[in-house]
C-alpha cells in the first residue's frame, strides 16, 4: 500500500448536551506508527476514538480511516480495525474460549479452532480457557480483551487505556508486542495516562477539553512547552515549597521523592528565585531536563483555567 495516512481526520467535533467534548480535532497517523493519545479525564479521548471507528457519529468534520470514509464506510472499517474499549466489554458469563470463539465467528476467521487455540496459547490462558471471563482478575481481563481484538489481524489498533490496572511486567510485555506488531506494519493509536507509555510512543497527541493542545515527538512536545526545570536537592522540603511559592518565575513545584522539581518559562527569573529561596538552607539547585509529566501538568493547569466555566455547566 502507499504512504497514505492510516488515520486522517479533520475538524472532528462531537457535542453532548450543548457542550463540545471533542472540538475540531485533526489527527493524522501514518502506517506503522504508534501514536499516544493523552489528556486529562473527560478530555474526549474515548469520544474521539469512537468517532474514528464509527461508533459515534461526528457532529462535524470528516476524514478517512484506512482510506475509507469514516462517515460512510464504517462497516468496512470495522473489519480492519481492532478496537479495545476502555471498559471491559466482553461477555462475563461466557468462558474465555467462548468469547474468543464468538469473535472469531463474527470475523469469519478460518480455521477458527486453530486461531483460537493459538491466541489462548500466546496469552498463556490455554489451561484456563473454560473459566468464565467475569471471574478473571482486572489485569487478565485487559489481556484477554487485547488478545481478542488482535485475533483478526487488523491493520489498525485503537486501544483505549489498554494497560489500566495491568502489572508492570505484563505492561512491558504488552508494549514489546505492540512494537513488534508495529514493525510489521500495524498502526496503533493508544490512549494512556502513563508517562512511561507516552515515552514509548513514536508520537503523542495531547488533547484537553476537546482540543488538541500539543503534538509531536516527546522531545518536540517538551521543547514546545518552553518550560525550564531546576531540581532542588536536600533541605527541608515542606519549608522550601512554602518559600518558593509565589516567587517570580516559579510556576510549578512538584516533589519527586526527596527532590523538588521547580518549573517556569522564564529561565532567568526562575534561576534567580530558586537561588534566593535556598540561600542558607543547605539545599543545592541544578538545572535539569524538563520531564514530560511536568509538561502535562502544565498543560492541564492551563486548559482548566480556560475551560472551567464550560466544565461547570450541568
Amino acid at each position: 500500500m502507499s504512504d497514505a495516512p492510516i488515520i486522517d481526520v479533520h475538524g472532528l467535533t462531537k457535542t453532548f448536551n450543548g457542550r463540545a467534548v471533542v472540538d475540531h480535532v485533526d489527527l493524522e497517523v501514518k502506517r506503522g506508527e504508534i501514536v499516544g493519545f493523552l489528556g486529562p479525564n473527560g478530555s474526549g479521548k474515548t469520544t474521539t476514538i469512537r468517532m474514528i471507528c464509527g461508533l459515534l457519529k461526528p457532529d462535524a468534520g470528516d476524514g478517512t480511516c484506512l482510506g475509507l470514509d469514516i462517515l460512510k464506510d464504517a462497516d468496512r472499517i470495522k473489519l480492519e480495525v481492532g478496537y479495545m474499549t476502555q471498559r471491559f466489554s466482553f461477555y462475563e458469563d461466557l468462558t474465555i474460549r467462548e468469547n474468543l470463539d464468538f469473535v472469531a465467528r463474527l470475523y469469519e476467521l478460518k480455521p477458527r479452532g486453530r486461531i483460537v487455540d493459538e491466541t489462548l496459547a500466546r496469552l498463556g490462558l490455554a489451561n484456563r480457557q473454560g473459566q468464565l471471563a467475569g471471574t478473571l482478575s482486572g489485569g487478565w481481563k485487559q489481556r484477554l480483551a487485547l488478545a481478542a481484538c488482535v485475533m483478526h489481524q487488523p491493520q489498525l489498533l485503537l486501544l483505549d487505556e489498554p494497560t489500566a490496572g495491568v502489572d508492570p511486567k505484563a505492561r512491558r510485555e504488552f508494549w514489546d508486542e505492540i512494537h513488534e506488531l508495529a514493525a510489521e506494519g500495524l498502526t496503533v493509536l493508544v490512549s494512556t495516562h502513563y508517562m512511561d507509555e507516552a515515552e514509548r510512543c513514536h508520537r503523542i497527541v495531547y488533547i484537553s477539553y476537546g482540543k488538541v493542545v500539543a503534538r509531536g515527538t516527546v522531545p518536540e512536545v517538551i521543547a514546545a512547552s518552553g518550560l525550564h526545570t531546576i531540581v532542588v536537592k536536600g533541605g527541608d522540603g515542606a519549608g522550601l515549597v512554602r518559600k518558593l511559592k509565589g516567587l517570580p518565575g516559579i510556576e510549578q513545584i512538584a516533589p519527586f521523592g526527596n527532590d523538588l522539581h521547580v518549573v517556569g518559562t522564564d529561565e532567568r527569573a526562575l534561576a534567580a528565585s530558586v537561588e534566593r529561596a535556598i540561600a542558607g538552607t543547605g539545599a543545592t539547585a541544578m538545572p535539569d531536563a524538563t520531564s514530560l509529566e511536568d509538561v502535562f501538568i502544565r498543560l492541564m493547569d492551563q486548559s482548566t483555567d480556560n475551560f472551567a466555566p464550560a466544565e461547570q455547566r450541568p
Binding site: 469512537r50 470495522k78 478496537y83 474499549t85 471491559f88 466489554s89 462475563e92 458469563d93 470463539d101 463474527l106
Partner: protein, 382 residues
C-alpha cells in the same frame, strides 16, 4: 478481508452466544420451563372446576312450603350452602353487599306472593344471581339449577299440594350471571393460557436482549465488530423461538395429561402456526429492545403490550361483544388470531385452509415489527 452481505457464520456466532448465556442464566431458564408447568398445575388441580357447597344467601319475601322445599333441594344437591343468621334468610341490602364482597357466590330471591302464584299455577319468578367473575366456579351449579328446582317443586306437588296438575314449568327461573357474561370454560382456558404464556415470556425474554448488552457495556464491543443489524436480529431471535417451542410442548403435554383437552385437528398445523406466533412475539420483544434505553423501559413496554393482548384478544371477554374500536385493535394483536387458530385446530379439528385467514395477520405483524426493529436498530452509541 471481504465483507459478505449476509454471513451465516456471524448469525451462528450470535445464536450460540445467546444460547450459552440463556443456559447459564438459571433463573430465566427455570422461569421458561417452570412458569407454564406451575400455571397448568394450578389450573389442573388447585382450581377445582366443579366446586361444591358454595355460600349462598337467600332473600325470602314469601316463606312457605314451596320456597322451603326449593331451598332444601338446593342444599341437597351439594352445590349450595346457605349462610346468614338463624333460618339463613337475609335482607336484600345485606345479601347484595355479601355478593359484592364475595362472601357469597349466589343470591336466591323468592319474591312476594311466590307461594300464592305458585298454587294458582301462575308460574312465579325465581331469581338467582351468581357471581360469575370466576365462571368455572359457578357454571356447573347454574347448569344444574333448573333440574334442582324442578325436583324440589315436585316433592311439594306430589305431597302437601297433591292436587295440583303437573305439566308446564311451575316456576320461571331467572338467572343473572354477574360480572362476566361469557362463562369461559376450561377448554377455552388452555388455548388462552398457551397464547398468553407465550406472549408474556417470549416477548419479555427478547425485550431484554439488546438492553442487557447496553447495560452491561458489551454493546460497544458488539457494535465495533462487523455484525450487521439483521444478523444480530436473527441470531438473537432464533434461540428464543426454540425456547418458546419447548414451552409449547410442555403446555400441550400437560394440557393433554391434566385436562384431557381434545386434539382434534392435525398437530402439524398447530405446531407450525405456533412457531409463527412465537416468532412474532419474540421479534416484537426484540423490537422493544431496540426502542428501549434500558431494561426497565423494555419491561414496561412488554407489560404495556401484554395488557391489551389479554383484554382485547378474546381471552378475557368475548371478541364479538367488544365495541368496534376495541375489535379493530384486537385484530392487530397476534394473540387474537392465535386463539382462533388454536380453538379451530384443537377443538374443531380445522386444517390449514380453515386457519389461513388467521395466519397471515400474524405473519404481517411479524414482518411489520421486524421492519421496525431493523429501522430502529442503533448502529452507533449516540
Amino acid at each position: 478481508m471481504k465483507l459478505h452481505r449476509f454471513s451465516v457464520s456471524r448469525i451462528v456466532a450470535v445464536m450460540l452466544k445467546e444460547f450459552i448465556q440463556m443456559r447459564r442464566d438459571r433463573l430465566t431458564f427455570a422461569m421458561i420451563i417452570g412458569v407454564p408447568i406451575i400455571q397448568l398445575v394450578l389450573f389442573g388441580y388447585a382450581i377445582n372446576t366443579d366446586p361444591k357447597r358454595l355460600p349462598t344467601a337467600a332473600i325470602v319475601a314469601d316463606d312457605g312450603p314451596v320456597s322451603r322445599s326449593i331451598i332444601a333441594a338446593m342444599e341437597l344437591s351439594g352445590y349450595f350452602a346457605f349462610t346468614g343468621s338463624g333460618d339463613g334468610f337475609t335482607t336484600e341490602a345485606e345479601a347484595r353487599a355479601m355478593l359484592a364482597r364475595g362472601d357469597v357466590n349466589y343470591v336466591l330471591t323468592i319474591p312476594p306472593d311466590f307461594e300464592r302464584k305458585f298454587v294458582r299455577g301462575e308460574t312465579p319468578q325465581l331469581l338467582v344471581e351468581a357471581d360469575a367473575t370466576d365462571p368455572s366456579a359457578t357454571a356447573n351449579a347454574l347448569g344444574a339449577f333448573t333440574q334442582i328446582v324442578t325436583q324440589g317443586v315436585s316433592t311439594v306437588t306430589t305431597g302437601a299440594l297433591g292436587g295440583m296438575k303437573p305439566g308446564g314449568a311451575p316456576v320461571d327461573i331467572v338467572l343473572h350471571r354477574l360480572y362476566n357474561p361469557e362463562g369461559i370454560t376450561a377448554y377455552n382456558i388452555v388455548p388462552g393460557l398457551l397464547g398468553t404464556i407465550l406472549t408474556m415470556t417470549a416477548t419479555l425474554m427478547t425485550a431484554l436482549a439488546l438492553t442487557r448488552e447496553i447495560e452491561r457495556g458489551t454493546m460497544e464491543n458488539l457494535l465495533a465488530m462487523p455484525a450487521r443489524p439483521y444478523e444480530i436480529m436473527v441470531g438473537k431471535v432464533v434461540p428464543y423461538i426454540g425456547f418458546g417451542f419447548v414451552q409449547v410442548l410442555v403446555i400441550l403435554l400437560a394440557a393433554a395429561v391434566l385436562f384431557d383437552v381434545p386434539m382434534v385437528g392435525p398437530m402439524s398445523v398447530l405446531l407450525s402456526t405456533t412457531t409463527l406466533f412465537v416468532a412474532a412475539n419474540v421479534t416484537l420483544g426484540y423490537t422493544f429492545s431496540t426502542l428501549a434505553r434500558n431494561q426497565m423501559q423494555a419491561m414496561q413496554m412488554t407489560f404495556f403490550f401484554f395488557l391489551p393482548s389479554m383484554l382485547l384478544s378474546g381471552f378475557m371477554f368475548p371478541f364479538r361483544g367488544m365495541p368496534g374500536w376495541a375489535q379493530a385493535i384486537g385484530e392487530v394483536i397476534p394473540l387474537t388470531h392465535y386463539l382462533r387458530v388454536v380453538r379451530t385446530v384443537m377443538l374443531k379439528g380445522g386444517g390449514f385452509a380453515d386457519v389461513a385467514p388467521n395466519v397471515w395477520p400474524i405473519a404481517a405483524f411479524l414482518a411489520g415489527v421486524a421492519a421496525i426493529a431493523l429501522f430502529r436498530y442503533r448502529r452507533t452509541l449516540d
